[in-house]
Every structure is written in C-alpha cells, then in structure tokens.
Amino acid sequence: MSVTPVEVTGTRTPPRRVIERRRTPRERGRIPLSIVLALLMIYFLVPFWWLIVNSSKTAAGLFGGGSSLWFADDINYLGNLVDLFTYGGGIYGRWLANSALYAIVGGVGATVLAVLAGYGFAKYRFAGRNLSFAILLGSVMVPTTALAIPTFVLFAQLGLTNTIWAVIFPSLLNPFGVYLMNVYARDAVPDELLDAARVDGAGEFRSFFVVALPLLRPAIVTVLLLSVVASWNNYFLPLVMLSDNRLFPVTVGIGLWQSTASTYGAAGGQSLWSIIVLGSLVSVIPLIIAFLTLQKYWRGGLAIGSLK
C-alpha cells in the first residue's frame, strides 16, 4: 500500500475511472447491484423517515391507530416545534447550545493539540520520542469509558464536577487524532521544504505556521470533524459528570426526557413523546449538515488511518 494520503484527499481518480469503466464490458452486474444498494439505502434510512413522519404528529396522532410510516391528516410540525422549545422553560434550546459549546470548544481544542503533537512526532527526532509515541499508540486502545469513573472522582475532589469544564477537558484528549496527524504529516510535509524555509531564515514555529499548516489542511478538517462529532455525540461522560440539567448536552437531555416519559407510561408521558421525537430530529440536523457540506474533506481524511 504505497498510496500517499495526498492522492487520497486530493481530487480522486473518478473521471479517469468512469471513462475506463464505460469501455469495459464488465458492467453486466450493475443493475442487480444497484437494486441491492437501493434496498440497503432503505434499511439505513428507515429510522430517519420514521422520525420525519412522526415528528409531524400530535401526541394523540402518535398513539392513534394510523400508519407509523406515513403522515397523519393533521401535520403539526409547527405546534410541536413550539412545544419543544417552550417545554420546561425552553430547556431544549439550552441543551442544543450546550452541545454546540462542548463540541466546538472540545473539538477545536482537541484538534489544535493533535495537530501540534502529530507534527512534532512526524518532523522532529527528540529524546524520548520513540517511547512517547509507543505509549501514544497504546493509549488509542484504552477504552474512554473506563476513564470516566476515576476522572469523575478526581474532578469531584477538585470541585470540577457539574461544571462545563468537566465535559470539555476530557474531550481534549484525542490520541487517535494525534496518530492520524502524524501519519499524514510524515508524507504531506516534505523535509526539503522545511529545510528550505530554515535556510531562508524562518524559525521552527514560523515554518510550521507558514509552510506546514496549509499542507496539513485536509487532515486538520478531518480530525476537527471527528473530534466535534465525538463531543457532540458524547453521552456517558456528561451523564456521569453533570447533575444540573441546565448544563446537559442534548444527548443527555433527551435521554432524561425519554426515561421520564417511559416511567409515566404511554398515558402520562404522551405529550412528552411527541417532543422527544421532534427533539431527536432537530438534534441530528446540525451534524448531518456538517457532514454533507464538508464531505470532500472527511472522505479522503478517513482513509489516512487505513492506508498506512
């Protein structure tokens, strides 16, 4: 596998391959395969469809006998949206804002640290480098949830639990991001270029900012996206760390509503179910938009780790 990440992240070969493929007579299997793809797509999209359809229903409509895969007669998106954002003093909006805060601060912080460390490991020989890198690789295998309980007890002693820092600090740790940056920087930033910068009198940090950073951009976007997603989707850590529901991210918040609604059963929790369904839909929209708009970056970037 001698493919460099540059090739993968840059414009891929599709145009050439498409032409090549049109010429070859090996496309007979294409229609059955497309049908298989269509069926797979239905499977992967059904839950979203369910969410879109059912968030339009009133609480009564949700439990009423109509089909759960099609809209009811009265489409109540607006009413549900108002309910969602006013329930419990507008707590849902706050949860969304918290999620955004944790994801952006945690994600950006993790990315900055990963870029610096990955570049340092890739481009400098320093005492203890091999040992620290071996430890880093080992740490990729440490399950993060195993850290949650001891981190909670540590933070409790420092008075940090139930603060935003209890969620943000642990999300700064992204050993896999450092690994990805290291693999990418090794090939994407040629030593000759750095030497040239040095000969021209640029200091090490100036060469990093001016020469290396622009070359690392695809990997930076990928690590950023992966870190932001990991923080946005985090559930275990904030569940453990936070007790004040005004600090909850949306994942923990919806989990709380869900467990409340289940406890009261279908009868008591009816009104809650319709906002849980819409709340789930609203909470996934930002990430879907992020993925769709940034897809040309992450698709190549995800390959970095697998091509080494």
Binding site: R21, G138, L147, V240, V284, S306
Partner: protein, 309 residues
C-alpha cells in the same frame, strides 16, 4: 524522514546545537498534548488502580484490601455475566459488521453511478447520529405503540417479534449497532479500495481473472490493514457497550438489567450505590481486558500490516 542538516561542512558544534534545537522544538510541539495526556489519561488510570485497592464499608470505613476487589469482581456473577454478554455480542457483531461494510464497499467500488455516490452518503449517515438518538429511533421502531413492525406483521396475520423482549434484545441491539457503524466502516474500506492502483485489475483481467477472483485475490488482501483497523475499533467499542442498552433500558421493560454489560454495572455501582471503589475496579478490569485483547490481536496480525507497523 526527520529534518537533518548534517553535511561534511557543518561543524560538530553546529551539529550539537542542531540536536539540542531538535529536542527542544520537538518537545515544544508535543508538550501541550502531553500535559493533557498525563492529566486526563495517565492520572485517571493510576487513580482507578489506586481506588480499586480499597474497600469502603459503613462500619469499617475505608480499608486497604489489595486485590480483594478483583477477587470479588471475578467471582461476581453480575460482572461475569456482563463480560460473557459483551464477548458473545462481539463474536457475532464484529464479523457481521465487517462483512456488511466490506460488501457495501465492494459494490460501491464496482458501481460508479451518481446513484451509487448518493447511496454511499446515505448509508454513511447513521454515523453522524448520536448513539443515544440512534438507539431511541430503533426503540420506537421496535415498540408496539409507535412502531411499524407490528403493522407490517399484522397485515400478514402474524405477530411481530418483540426485539425489546429479553429473548430477542440481543438481536435488537445487534441491529442497532450494525446500522450505526456499518456506514463508517464502509467509508474507511471504500477509501482503501479507491487507493488500489487500477492497473492491477487490468493486469489480472489480461491474465483471465474474473471479477470474483479480482475481489478475493487483489481487493480483499490489499484492504487488510483497513479491516484490521476496523476490527480494533469495533472491539474497543463493543467491549465498553453502554449507551444503547442504557437508553433502551426503560423501553424494554425488564429485558435489560442494571448489570447487563460490565460498563452498566460499573456505572450502577459508582453512581447509584456510591461504591466508587468497586466501580473503579470494574472499570479498570474492563479497560485492562480490552487493552490485552486488542494487543494480542494486533500482535497476532502484525505480519499482515496495518496500524502499528
């Protein structure tokens, strides 16, 4: 690989200062992450180990018991059943996930239409969904009250299988996790497939290889490093299973007890029973088991290339 300024013309003194500068700059780049690493990984692990050596009781206070907690854990049916569950779950889930994601990636590598590109994105979509929301969505789909399963089976005059019952929850969870992660793994494999030099296929065709032979003899062997990476991710993820069963717990009345997985058991011990020492013991034991399993696996597959080579 590393920047070297060595040349016959450079004096020893100059060279020594280069080494010092390399050392300092290298550490300057790595140090910010290093501090976070020490504070949020090394320290908690050490602390978990420390906590696990003590036992707290109402009468005796906190006392040092050395490996007493571990002896207790490895003879505690709640912990062992949880471990047995995640092991069984991994054995079924991981091959299934790899097969599904590899099959989709191979199809997408062959079919290059606009529709295929669109479906690639749609199949990936579940990865962007928080596991909590994913579990909740499937919980709805499974349920009697809201789900379409009951309707569909009713129209055939059958009763729908209840994936939230204790006999079928295994499959219910299997489906959720596969749905959530297959697209992500597929993208990794697809990217690896795209990285293969197409002239290899041409050469194979000239030698008379069929599409199947190309897949089995060229494509799959060349994406082995990516398969290893996926297996490692899946193993780490599955053994610390928590979010999905925790969310489904309320919907699946009785099918998911508090000690369903080791992680749920550790959570219950620490946060419902305030038994941090035992919770930390289970966390540490689980972390150590995951680490050892992954390490053995990587050691066994090291010749096949991948991640740590």
């Amino acid at each position: 690989m590393t920047a070297t300024l060595d040349s016959p013309a450079v004096s020893t003194k100059h060279r020594r200062s280069t080494v010092v500068r390399q050392n300092l700059t290298g550490w300057a780049f790595v140090a910010p992450f290093g501090i976070i690493f020490l504070a949020l990984l090394v320290l908690p692990i050490g602390y978990a180990l420390y906590l696990s050596l003590f036992q707290k009781s109402l009468i005796g206070g906190t006392r040092f018991v050395l490996f007493g907690n571990y002896v207790k854990a490895f003879s505690d049916p709640s912990f062992l059943d949880g471990v047995w569950f995640v092991v069984r779950f991994s054995i079924v889930l991981i091959p299934l996930q790899m097969a599904v994601s590899l099959a989709i990636a191979l199809i997408l590598d062959i079919v290059v239409t606009r529709f295929a590109r669109f479906s690639r994105l749609m199949i990936f979509m579940p990865y962007a969904i928080p596991t909590v929301i994913g579990a909740l969505m499937w919980g709805f789909l499974y349920s009697d009250n809201f789900g379409p399963l009951a309707e569909i089976f009713e129209s055939f005059g059958r009763q729908a299988p209840d994936f939230l019952s204790s006999s079928l929850i295994f499959y219910g969870l299997l489906n959720i996790v596969t749905w959530q992660w297959a697209g992500y793994y597929m993208i990794i494999l697809y990217a690896a497939l795209q990285g293969i030099d197409p002239t290899l296929y041409e050469a194979a065709r000239i030698d008379g290889a069929s599409q199947w032979q190309i897949i089995l003899r060229i494509k799959i062997p060349l994406v082995t490093p990516a398969l290893v990476l996926i297996l490692v991710f899946a193993l780490i993820g599955t053994l610390q299973f928590f979010n999905e069963p925790k969310i489904l717990q309320d919907l699946a009345a009785g099918a998911i007890p508090n000690d369903f997985t080791p992680n749920m058991y550790a959570y219950q011990q620490a946060f419902s029973l305030a038994n941090y020492n035992y919770g930390a013991t289970i966390s540490f034991a689980l972390g150590a088991v995951v680490f050892v399993c992954v390490y053995i696996f990587l050691f066994a597959t090291r010749k096949r290339g991948g991640f740590f080579s």
